[in-house]
Symmetry: C2
Subunit: 237 residues, 2 copies
DNA sequence: GCCGTGTCAAGAGCAGTGCTCTCGAATGTG
DNA sequence: CACATTCGAGAGCACTGCTCTTGACACGGC
C-alpha cells in the first residue's frame, strides 16, 4: 500500500514535471508567436515527437485551456499581491490604482497571454467551466476594494443623476455585487462594473494597438484613466 | 481608345465582381467559423481551385485585410448614419446614445467581424497602413458630438477635481482632440477618450463572453452604461 | 526473481492548411 | 487574324492537428 502510493506518486511527480515542462515551452511559444500554438513545434523543442504530447494533453485545446487557467491565476495573483502591498487598507484609492497598474503591468509583460484570455475567443475553442473560477479573481479584488471603501465610509453613495435601472437588470447587478460581498445600491455597483469595463478596455486598447501613432505616453495615460475612474466609481482618497 | 477603355473596364468589372464574390463568401465563412478563414474552403465554395484565388489576392492576409477595411467602413457608416438620424443636432446626449447603440448593434450582428478588428491581433498579421483611416471613423463621430456639444454650450467643461496630466501626455491628448476638431481642455478631451474606451470595452466584454452567466439583460446594461458615460464625458441632455 | 500490467515514446499515416510554379486554354486587344 | 495577357487547373512543398499501431521500459504482485 505504502509502496504503491510511493511508486504511484513517483510516477505522478514525473508526469507533473513533464506537464509543467510542456506548459513552460508552450507559454514561451505563445509569447513569441501568439495564439498560433503548434504542438509539433513544442514537441520538437522538447526533443520528442508530436504524438507523445497526447499522453499529457488530449488535444491542443486542452493545452490552451491549461495555459489560460494559469494565466488567469497568475493575473489574479498579481492583482491580489498589489492590493495586499498597500499597508493602509482604508486608502482605497491607492489600492485601486495599485491593482489597476498591476493588471496592466501583467498584461504588458505578456501581451499574447493577455490576448488569449481577454481577446477575441479563439475559433473553435469554447472556454470550459474550469476557467470561470480563476477568471473572476481580478474583479473580486476590485470588488473587495469597493466593499472596504463602503465599510470605511470612503465610498460615494450619491446616485442622484444616475439613469434608472430596469428591474430585471437591477436583480442581475445586485447578484454580481453580492458575489463580491459588495453591499451597495445597484447604481453604485453599476459604477463599479463600468470602472471594471473601462479598466480592461484601456488595457485591451493599448495592447491591441489602438493607440499606435496616437498616444505614446502609455503609462501616464493609463494612470490618468485609472485615477479618473477611481474617483468615478466613488472611491475617496 | 474608347474601345480600349470599354474593354478594359469590362475586364476590370468582371474582376471586381469576382473580388466581391470572394469577399462575400469569405465574410460568410468568418461569420460562421471566426478568424480561422480557409482559402481552400472559400475556393471550394466558389467552384474553383485554391490557387486560382491568388489571382485576386496575393495572400490570405491580404484578403483578411480587405475584409477588415470593409468592416471598419461598415461600422463607421453605421455610426454616422445613427448620428445623422437624430434631427435635433444639439441634443448631443441623444446622439451619443444613438451612436453607441449603433456600434453595439453592428458588433452584435457580426461578432466575428468585430473580433477581427477589435479583438486580439491575429498571429503573424500586422495591420497595414490602409486600415488606420477607416479605423478612426467611429471615434471621429464621437468626437464630433463632443465638439458640437461644446459649440452648443452643452458640454460640461468643469475639471476641478481631475488629476493632473503630465506635459508630454497633454500634448498627445491635445493632438487627438485636434484631429477630431474638438477644441476643449485636455482634461475634457481625456474624459472623451475614457468614454470611448469604456464604450468599446463594454462591447468587447459582451461579445467575448465576459458576461456569460452574469448579465443577461445585455441591451439594458449597455444602455445604462452609455447614458452614465454620456453624462460622465460631460454631455448635457 | 519473474511475469503480467500499465505507461510511454516513436512512427506511419490521414486530412487539412497556405503558397508556388508550370501549363494549357480562353479572351480581349492591336 | 495573330498576339499578348489573363485566368483556372493541377501538381507539389512544407506545414498543421490528430489517430492508431508498435515496441520498449519500468513498476507492482505473486
Amino acid at each position: 500500500m505504502a509502496d504503491q502510493t510511493t511508486a504511484g506518486s513517483i510516477r505522478a511527480r514525473v508526469r507533473a514535471e513533464m506537464i509543467d515542462e510542456i506548459k513552460t515551452v508552450a507559454r514561451r511559444h505563445i509569447a513569441q508567436e501568439g495564439a498560433a500554438l503548434s504542438l509539433r513545434a513544442v514537441a520538437r523543442e522538447l526533443g520528442m515527437v508530436s504524438s507523445a504530447l497526447y499522453r499529457y494533453f488530449p488535444s491542443r485545446d486542452e493545452l490552451l485551456t491549461a495555459l489560460i487557467i494559469d494565466a488567469y491565476d497568475s493575473m489574479g495573483e498579481a492583482a491580489e499581491a498589489a492590493d495586499a502591498a498597500i499597508p493602509d487598507r482604508t486608502d482605497v484609492l491607492a489600492r485601486w490604482v495599485a491593482v489597476a497598474h498591476a493588471l496592466r503591468d501583467w498584461a504588458v509583460a505578456q501581451p499574447h497571454l493577455y490576448g488569449l484570455i481577454y481577446g477575441s475567443p479563439v475559433p473553435g475553442y469554447a472556454a470550459p467551466e474550469d476557467t470561470i473560477g480563476p477568471a473572476t479573481r481580478p474583479v473580486v479584488v476590485l470588488g473587495a476594494i469597493m466593499a472596504d471603501a463602503k465599510a470605511a465610509g470612503r465610498l460615494d453613495l450619491e446616485t442622484g443623476a444616475a439613469p434608472a435601472i430596469p428591474a430585471a437588470l437591477r436583480v442581475e447587478i445586485d447578484r454580481v455585487a453580492e458575489a463580491v460581498t459588495m453591499d451597495v445600491p445597484a447604481a453604485v455597483a453599476a459604477r463599479g462594473l463600468i470602472g471594471w469595463t473601462e479598466l480592461f478596455g484601456a488595457i485591451s486598447f493599448e495592447l491591441f494597438g489602438r493607440f499606435n501613432d496616437t498616444i505614446d505616453e502609455r503609462r501616464d495615460w493609463f494612470d490618468h484613466q485609472v485615477r479618473v475612474m477611481g474617483a468615478f466609481v466613488g472611491l475617496r482618497g
